[in-house]
């Protein structure tokens, strides 16, 4: 186990380095730059700005400086917001994205898993068809349609929930619902598929033969293996959902990370893009590692080596 962890952690480092390098050079090769604006900047001022950010140095030197700082998770000040460090921006926006994502993931699990279990147990019956129909609808409706629809009904029609912003518990409801819908649907389908397979296996038959009540067979024995597909899906899903959904954050004007990162790329805010990309990559790699660890705990047949 320890050896496994060390080995995996060691592969994370070159992966992050490769991502950092690619992003660094792709950004520099993209046309335009952080100090291009509709209105021309005086020459002296531009030279000074470039000097401050080290843009007047050779690219190789800039790259090395960047790597040296990135190791300490220091990306310097944002270009677009000169009074703020990239670190501060991420630190300020991350809790918001984490909260939105965690709530959405929780809702998705709380709704998706039971739907999937019911669908599997009632395989090919009305409940199954209804659940899978709902799941299909959930996967098919994009966030940018669902979000405004919910706003139209609950905020502008019924006046019961705020149409946007992130202030007070009532403001959480619509964005969390919007963000979780696709995940609910996907998790329900994965749970159903996993459960269907497990319910046919010998140990389930044994459990039934022992005379255990059906709900115990399903909940205690079959579930543990049946939700394995969901667990492996959770790693990437969590990384995606926790780091901020650009669409939901934009539709509801939530001050999370997703909105910043997309704008940063358009603005050629080199430091903010680099900080965001590396942070996201590290987050994804670590979550995947956690999923692998969780596997051994859920399925005794899996061994880490």
């Amino acid at each position: 186990m320890t050896r496994f962890l060390i080995r995996r952690l060691l592969t994370i480092v070159p992966t992050l380095w490769a991502i950092a390098t690619l992003t660094f050079f792709m950004l520099r090769w993209a046309p335009g730059g952080p100090f291009l604006a509709e209105r021309d900047i005086p020459e002296g001022v531009r030279a000074q700005l470039e000097h401050t950010y080290g843009l007047d140095r050779p690219l190789g030197e800039q790259y090395l400086t960047f790597l040296g700082r990135a190791v300490r998770f220091d990306f310097g000040p944002s270009y677009k917001y000169p009074a703020r460090q990239v670190r501060e921006i991420i630190a300020g926006a991350l809790p918001v994205s984490l909260e939105l994502g965690a709530l959405a993931l929780l809702v998705a699990l709380l709704i998706g898993v039971p739907i999937g279990v019911v669908a599997a147990v009632r395989h090919n019956r009305a409940e199954d068809h209804a659940a899978m129909g709902l799941a299909l609808a959930g996967v098919s409706i994009p966030n940018f349609v669902l979000g405004p629809l919910l706003v139209l009904v609950f905020s502008l029609g019924l006046f019961v929930l705020p149409p946007a912003l992130w202030r007070g518990p009532e403001s959480r409801i619509l964005p969390v619902l919007t963000l979780s819908t696709a995940y609910v649907a996907y998790i329900a389908r994965l749970t159903r598929a996993g459960m269907l397979e497990v319910l046919r296996q010998d140990f389930v038959r044994t459990a039934r033969a022992k005379g255990l009540p059906e709900h115990q067979v399903v909940m205690r024995h079959a579930m543990r293996l049946g939700i394995l597909p969901v667990v492996s899906y959770l790693g990437p899903a969590a990384a995606r959902i926790l780091m901020g959904s650009v669409v939901v954050e934009s539709v509801f004007q939530i001050p999370g990370l997703g909105r910043y990162l997309v704008n940063a790329a358009f603005n050629r805010d080199y430091t903010l893009v680099m900080g965001g990309v590396l942070f996201y990559a590290a987050f994804l790699l670590i979550l995947n590692l956690m999923v692998d660890v969780a596997y051994t705990w859920l399925d005794p047949r899996v061994e880490l080596a």
């Binding site: 001022v45 401050t52 926006a93 029609g157 705020p162 149409p163 001050p255």
Partner: protein
């Protein structure tokens, strides 16, 4: 027995019924009175909430670069002068009067007695001098440093050719007098003193906290409001500044600016009554036709021109007749009326309306017959042999539709084919600046109320020229106008210059910008202005106002 689903349905119905009973009709409307877009219940407290349009990049006045930044700065700081809320004419602010020397070169500002910063320091002329020198210092990185370009030695100082700040023409001989010396008379210099870049900043706070001085915990200011909280990408909250010299006239207890970058969400918040003002530029253009019928929708002219720029360094656009042909074949009426649903006005000049005393030269117009003759004189009768040019636009649905319309007009009237190149903002800026285009979609917005802010762009080699066009007669007229003290003669010279620009057609103006905004009927003291600049200091909330809605539930 009722199933679980049935019970859920009943609960939902009950919620719906309760909600519907509480809600007002779609549009608040008195019997026979005007219709408003959404909730018109005044806020409980005298707090004005508005959409900043985007997250401000900086709220350090010297570094501020756009409308959102400027609005935050102007709430916190007050300059020597301030714009009149209706006309934007220069009015006294921290300076109560000023003298201009007979040669128009020396401006002497006299500060009010007893002005203080929020920490109790007196506001002195030295604070202004230091703040303006800070704008000019290259290491400050102020993108608007050239606003002070007409001040003696200012440009040399910004470009690092001169390091002694005492040689720059800004002096504070005593605590209440600021003397500014200009290298050449500048008719609009007084207007510049309203601009947010020239707001005073507290030296001691900046020296203590560096670039963190604008944090709510550190910031010291001299304006009508004090910054209390700031949450990134979310909101700015201000309360009234009791130390402000004119605090007695400030009727708002607070102001909230929301950093909303999604126009649909912002409009929803306006409709739900969360924000009181949706400023110009932040309404989705597709909403405008249906918003027109509401009494809280305000449409007004804006000091900006949308145009196509021709790269005169490329063939065949180096040919005057070709450029004229292209310009005369654009049906500006069709674009403004059909495509933009009258949200803009067709326009054939490079300077907008609203400069008192300025006579526009003959505008370019839509004349397909003339356009065909011009194209023939340019060597392409009937469009034969015309190379395939491209219109460069930055990514935007409206810009694309407009380019497609122009593409069709040129095909129909001139028989020529052009393509459309769409680039995201950064690439578009790079291409425009380095003349990597044939025809480019652009716009220009005035900084101050003078035709010079439009015409000076097209002087030879100006960083904003971006067409490669150069004309000695034009340059000479702009120089002459800058040196001219007599206002009528100066404007006449500028008008001649504009006539040259239109005749030579390195640019083809298309429409006059407009602002379309939503202002709740209970907001008083907020007027449409030609620069989309809105002093918010003396606004107030009128609770006696329309009482249209029967709202009991405030979504906030």
């Amino acid at each position: 027995m009722i199933s679980a689903a049935g019970r859920l349905a009943i609960v939902l119905l009950a919620v719906c019924a309760a909600g519907c009973a509480r809600s007002r009709s779609e549009d608040a409307q008195l019997a026979g009175g005007p219709a408003y877009f959404g909730d018109v219940t005044p806020p409980e407290h005298d707090v004005f909430t508005f959409n900043l349009g985007a997250e401000p990049e900086s709220f350090d006045p010297a570094l501020a670069t756009g409308q959102p930044d400027g609005r935050v700065c102007r709430l916190m700081f007050e300059g020597l002068t301030q714009p009149d809320p209706r006309t934007l004419e220069t009015r006294p602010a921290q300076a109560y009067r000023w003298d201009v020397s007979a040669d128009g070169l020396t401006y002497t500002f006299h500060l009010r007695p007893g002005l203080t910063w929020t920490d109790g320091h007196p506001v002195t002329a030295e604070d202004f001098r230091w703040s303006w020198i800070r704008v000019l210092r290259p290491e400050t990185g102020s993108r608007y440093a050239n606003l002070l370009g007409s001040v003696v030695n200012a440009t040399a100082f910004t470009n690092g050719e001169l390091t002694d700040e005492r040689q720059v023409g800004i002096a504070a001989p005593d605590d209440s007098t600021l003397v500014v010396r200009l290298a050449a008379p500048t008719a609009y210099f007084l207007d510049l003193t309203q601009f947010y870049t020239l707001l005073p900043v507290p030296r001691w706070t900046i020296e203590q906290h560096g670039n963190r001085w604008t944090q709510p915990a550190n910031v010291v200011s001299n304006g009508p409001f004090v910054l209390r909280t700031w949450r990134q990408n979310d909101r700015f909250e201000f309360t009234k500044n009791p130390r402000f010299w004119n605090a007695a006239a400030v009727r708002l207890a607070g102001v909230v600016g929301l950093s909303l970058d999604d126009q649909n969400a912002a409009t929803n918040l306006y409709k739900a009554g969360v924000i009181d003002w949706q400023p110009g530029g932040y309404l989705p253009s597709t909403f405008i036709p249906s918003l027109r019928r509401y009494a809280d929708f305000v449409h007004s002219g804006y000091q900006g021109v949308y145009f196509y720029g021709f790269n005169v360094t490329r063939k065949p656009l180096d040919n005057l007749w070709v450029r004229r042909a292209l310009s005369y074949a654009i049906d500006r009426d069709a674009i403004a009326t059909d495509l933009l649903k009258k949200s803009r006005d067709p326009w054939g000049n490079m300077t907008p309306t609203g400069f008192p005393g300025y006579q526009h030269p003959e505008p370019v117009r839509f004349d397909p017959e003339l356009a065909r003759q011009y194209l023939a004189r340019g060597g392409f009768p009937g469009g034969r042999g015309f190379p395939k040019l491209s219109i460069l636009i930055s990514t935007s649905e409206d810009l694309r539709r407009m380019a497609e319309a122009v593409q069709a007009m040129w095909k129909r009237e001139l028989g020529i084919d052009v393509t459309i190149t769409n680039q995201e903002w950064g690439s578009y800026m790079q291409a425009t600046k380095s003349l990597q285009f044939d025809i480019v979609s652009r716009s220009w917005i005035g900084d101050y109320l003078d035709p010079n802010t439009f015409l000076s762009c097209f002087v030879t080699g100006d960083g904003n020229n971006r067409t490669g066009w150069s004309n000695p007669g034009y340059d000479q007229r702009l120089r002459a106008a800058a040196a001219e003290l007599e206002p009528a003669r100066r404007l006449a010279t500028l008008s001649e210059a504009e006539a040259i620009l239109l005749d030579e057609s390195p640019v083809a103006p298309i429409y006059h910008m407009a602002t379309n905004e939503l202002i709740k009927p209970y907001v008083r003291g907020l007027y449409p202005t030609p620069l989309n600049v809105h002093p918010l200091t003396y606004l107030w909330i009128d609770r006696g106002a329309p009482a249209g809605a029967t709202a009991s539930h405030q979504v906030r």
